[in-house]
Symmetry: D2
Subunit: 468 residues, 4 copies
């Protein structure tokens, strides 16, 4: 079924996209590929739906979003298996993603009743005597969402759910590697009372997607993906508002007073869950002096024990990467680091699309495994002398998404909160921590703007003041 979801209709395309399981190459399903004509049509339909969408009462938006949330939970098992298959994500994590996406839609349902509104006195000076102001936030217009393969449902939800809450039509270009979950979402949304035209899913090639970026009828461009692609988009976005959720080389700092077992546990998850193909994957671990040896020992023994296998097997902890190209890239980066003087503590031998959990030490920021976004199952562990030195290392990068700090000392926590250059600092947990209603996004090269439903909603809206 070469389908796309074009403004309320599932339609057949001439061209199609095959989706195979990266773990075993098995064919899963195919979908259609949109062309420029479909893009144009989606925009026209979105414009038409916009007026209708803006008129929906809160109770209607709530029912639509709540209905989507329930729709996802009703098909939890089936969707998780589809998701696990199309992106080789171990089933346990795939199940978690369905739940989180359902949460994201439910949070948006609730926030749709609580859109920002202000009522302000204007008589602060004589010029405003007798006047008051009411500020409502109106939908900014059409949102274009471009999403990556690694969370093919929840990162889509983080754009679609706030757009509906805000009253914006939304056109989605899903990742070509993993478009099927988006089309499943379209089926669920199609069953709700969302005005037809307000949502489209258009799998397409990048050059076709570029029409979405350039089109002046689009008001907001929300992109999650790689820094290079994202920043380039910003320059071509014209008058659009732009939100970029990019990646980084997230670091964690383990202080001398840390709970070591807890830190090891969390770093294992943060470093290797979904083979590190996560924007806030733990890539750099800095351990304060005294704890370094103990940390490495325990961490490495746990890394070795990670269970590799079929993503659809419930016991699998780590599976293959999304494709061989990326596995090769990671392999190259690790080899270059070793050539450059880094020491391999664990892992490091690629097998097709599989790259094993790998730990290095003795790296520096000029090596890609340290300074670039590795987006694979590679972690560097380095010793530092103090919290201050650790913070310097955390900051010694062009990225700034999230960071972790394991300590109980309030002075270190406050110092780090002031000094670590990130969008989120997680105490006693890894940077990989995220709950879906918190403000989330990076500074420096890691992003532009914040998501987290309520925060995304704000970016999709425009303030209008009524002065009376």
């Amino acid at each position: 079924m070469n389908e796309i979801y074009l403004g309320g209709s599932f339609i057949e395309m001439g061209e199609s996209l095959d989706v195979n399981n990266p773990f075993n190459g098995a064919f899963i399903d195919r979908c259609g590929k949109a062309g420029q004509k479909e893009i144009d049509k989606a925009i026209v339909l979105a414009q038409q739906a916009g007026a209708e969408l803006m008129k929906l009462a809160s109770v209607q938006r709530y029912e639509i979003l709540h209905g989507i949330s329930n729709g996802l939970l009703n098909e939890r098992k089936r969707l998780a298996e589809l998701l696990a298959g199309e992106c080789a994500k171990p089933l346990r994590y795939a199940m978690g993603e369905i739940d989180r996406a359902a949460d994201t839609f439910q949070v948006a349902a609730e926030e749709s009743k609580r859109l920002p509104r202000e009522y302000i006195a204007l008589d602060w000076t004589a010029a405003g005597k007798g006047k008051e102001g009411w500020v409502r936030y109106f939908p900014a217009g059409i949102v274009v969402a471009i999403t990556p393969f690694n969370f093919p449902l929840n990162l889509v939800a983080h754009k679609v759910a706030p757009a509906i809450a805000a009253g914006c039509p939304i056109i989605l270009k899903p990742a070509s590697a993993a478009p099927l979950c988006s089309l499943e979402l379209a089926k669920i949304i199609d069953q709700t009372a969302l005005p037809k035209g307000a949502f489209s899913v258009l799998p397409c090639d990048r050059h076709v997607g570029d029409f979405l970026i350039a089109d002046s009828r689009v008001a907001v461009l929300s992109f999650t993906g790689s820094p290079e692609v994202g920043w380039a988009m910003k320059e071509r976005a014209g008058k659009k508002k732009v939100v970029l959720e990019l990646g980084g080389n997230a670091g964690v700092l383990i202080a001398g007073d840390a709970d070591l077992d807890h830190a090891v546990n969390r770093c294992l998850m943060g470093g290797f869950a979904y083979s590190g193909q996560v924007c806030i994957h733990v890539q750099r671990i800095f351990v304060v002096n005294g704890l370094f040896e103990a940390f490495c020992e325990r961490f490495l023994s746990r890394v070795k024990a990670l269970k590799y296998g079929d993503p659809l097997d419930e016991n699998t902890e780590i599976s293959c990467m999304i494709d061989e190209k990326n596995a090769v890239r990671v392999e190259t980066w690790v080899e270059r680091a070793i050539t450059g003087g880094a020491r391999l503590l664990q892992g490091g031998r690629r097998d097709g699309t599989y790259y094993p959990p790998t730990v290095l030490t003795g790296t520096n920021r000029t090596m890609e495994v340290n300074g670039e976004e590795v987006f694979g199952p590679v972690v560097v562990v380095e010793k530092v002398d103090s919290i201050s030195e650790g913070i310097r290392h955390l900051n010694d990068t062009r990225f700034g998404l999230q960071a972790g700090l394991f300590t109980f000392d309030m002075r270190s926590i406050r110092k780090a909160f002031e000094e670590v250059e990130v969008g989120g600092l997680i105490i006693n947990d890894v940077p990989t921590f995220r709950v879906d209603h918190m403000p989330y996004g990076g500074i420096k090269d890691s992003g532009f703007g914040r998501e987290g439903v309520k925060y995304a909603i704000r970016d999709y809206m425009e303030a209008k003041i009524l002065v009376l």
Copy 2:
């Protein structure tokens, strides 16, 4: 000059109140004593001023309040000396109080432009489709303020400033022991554009003051003073809103990881500034095991060194109490504690109105020095085994105003925040800490409601929703 300030006029009374310096008995000045007739007149004038007051634009409220703030600073020195004299407060603290009162009025000036207002969607259910709500807070009506001697300017400011910001007329009954600062404040306010009638200062006997409490034309009763008096007022307050800022036996807990010198410094200030005649005076110090001896040694040596003298001498650190009756009461309580088994570590010998800085240990909650509000220069120091035990001790009282905790450990801080039964928990400082815009007030027997300008304003206003 037997004057009172009655709704915009300074008028002579037949009966007068002499104010003497508690330190040397010297006559300072006298003021008039209001009777029931004046109370009635003040209420009538306040009612009339109310309508005018409600119509003031933000810019006018701001100018009035900002003008009062400036007026206080312009006379800082003179007012501080008057204040120091009338309540025997060492000049350094009296100067600080003028500054804080000026801040309190400035904060109120700023908040008067930011009164709470809400603009809400009402279409959460079908019944509200097409409707929106605007919530404005309107002045509740006449506020009656009854204030104590110990901060005869800033505790007055904490009621007068928010009342003006909220648009409420206010009638003040100042402490009989220290009414002069209130009348000076009236002179400053009288120079502003505050509508006449909106402010009265009525020094009077308690039985006359009772008419204010009972009068049904009064909307809000805001009292700062002793728990017994306060709670009794609440029962006689009829339909009024009531705010009670009462006292307590504030405790501080010093953990094993505390910065000892810092803790000693702050406990010295918290324990003996203005002879402990402060609602959030440090009365109970709990020190975790290992630090107990060291703390006592350093603390006692510092207590011994406190410089006693004339409040008007800039070098004086501690002076006499407000009157002999209270000094005798404290003496009796200390003696009873010693009889009951407490050990006197320092101080304990009264000389007229002077009671010296006193430290006891081995007390328990059945002794007044521990379980009641001592409101004098007496501190008990006790050893505890753990943070948990310390928290139990902090809570083992019918009071709950503020508490202090000296530690850097985030686990202890969070535990204490959850468990200590107070309105404010101060980390690495004494419970005596207060800045004038923070929410301030107690739970249990220590109070009802919160002050802190913005918080007080809310209690002086009533929400009204416009549904459209």
Copy 3:
């Protein structure tokens, strides 16, 4: 089954309360009557549950409250019939009440994740340099709820739902005339994960209920009912926080530019729905000059057509009153008004518990039908010369709950918003309008505090600041 719900258990009582259908006297069911012993036990169990309740994560509170909401909807039909029977409320309104109660719980579910929290800078003066403040609101303690017969489910929901959201245990004394819905609610709540002890339903006599009012272990008293009973409670409430939702004689003003048909429609509903046994029942209608005759004509013809009958009949628009005592009271008030000079335009002849829809004119505030809360199917219609005169009439009463204004003129709307002394002013609708998340409550003799889930939650909590 002589049951009450005592802190998590349904237990048999010796004494019982029979509940009969006021329309035909048919026995519906009976429940137990609690005594002083049960009250004490409920308080002890509530105290124990308090600690557990305070520790619940948001997700747990949400699940409990959302579960109750669903539970009500799942039994919508059965509950509506029970409710219609026990208080003779026409089924159409009874169905609406179940839906609203479900909404109230759902709103509370959502608000339980959004409890007030503040993070404030404290360095506004030098004294606060380097310090910050975090304000969390903690549950105040045990809430006692006393509720009336007229909305035996939703007015209960307005106390129980915010209490659970806030983390407060709650003890409910339902109306003796209509306790069965509360016990049904208890069955639903009992199926959730709410800690046992956190909720009790104690039908009892007023003198037994008085123990709840007096008990010092109770932190909050929330009462909905008659003004006399409410204000008397406040005086006996000791140190408790008190919320009073009392009644009034709500007025509506119809301006010369009003949409007459719409106004007639809404006044019909506001005046006679549930026989006017509603706190915000339209009791006084003021019509500006030119429209008076036309309004009366259309209104009276609609009043005449109201369909009387069995509350369980879906076609019934108006049924009997709650009991004969009240019907007789209304009869007496109408007769006295007529004796005093009022003119009867419609209705006025009682038949047992039934009192017909009645319209009077020529009344004044000294007549009970105008100046007191009639709480029955009686409306007075009076002519006024202008908006200003109409506002004077609206305000010419000791009550101030809600008012309505039919006009499209922004000047009149703003004037009325400033001047009408009420908690809520409803434009182009009757004062009877309420959606469950809006701030709701009266001023003057009509109440103390606000409900509306979020607003009620605030009254059930105490601010605690952490200064760091």
Copy 4:
């Protein structure tokens, strides 16, 4: 004195810029012209000052900003005359601008104590149990401000004041036509405790200014000026946040029930104050049918009476334009409109830099006087049949800054609030209305982001969440 203000020092430049009075060509003063070297130096100094700036306590930021506000008021007369001279703004408006700039700094002083901070529960799902979040907003980095000639002080204040409040260093490129006020501001700021380096004023040519736009060390670009320049900047801004306050062709709609005299008064001010060289100048007036003739008659008689003269004369109501180039441009546009079929009702004959108050009718959106930003003393007046048609006309443009609506009918007001595509809708006043703390900014081609101190502050900051 060929000076610029470079990061805390007034330094002499080789190249200079002469500033002459546009009214009579008289030389006023000269200032220096910065080159690329100075730009680089200013950025380096700003970076250094950034760390210091971020550490300032609220009380320090307040004192700096409050000090600037006072500094402006202290030199009110002198500054107004300088301003009037350098941009030919009639003195009455120049005085008003000094006052407004002082207000803008005072508002920023107050807001610097109230920077956004959030404290949120994170336990909405099981994954966040036991965790809480604190969101602080940190300064984003260096702000570059580029400002126009027409409000050479207050539009500068709208960028400098929020930058200081937010803790961002700021580099200002003032309009070449009117740089002197900025340098006066620098003198005032130089006297405060603002860390040296945190503020620079760099008059320069546009190609030099381009280095500021391109530099990657700059975090925020805030531009006020023409749409063409602004939108082009956005495309070259790289990773910066961009705020654009551009212009428009603001419209006003006069309904049939409008207060005609009031509307005429306000349209006169909005249309011709400062020769219409105002972003929210009234350019298009739409009058509903019945009022059209009456409006035109009264309006034209008032326009004729406007007093032309020397900007420094207190009686002058209208003076010349900023330069002859612009006067010629306006002349051409008016001529083209007439050629295209428009009818000249008043004005239209240029004299050097003076262009007289001009009124046209019979225009359409293809004429520049209607469809482009005229930025001169030209107003078009058109008749419409209804509110709906009027709204269509208001929206029939690529701009959307502010609009005015004269009516008292709530239905029209709400309809317009929903439908008029602008950032601000002013009821019973012209779009020219602005008080400095209200959210201000346009949609469509009129801008990107909002100013208004608090709103600008938000754009100069980045959220950082601490998860604990």
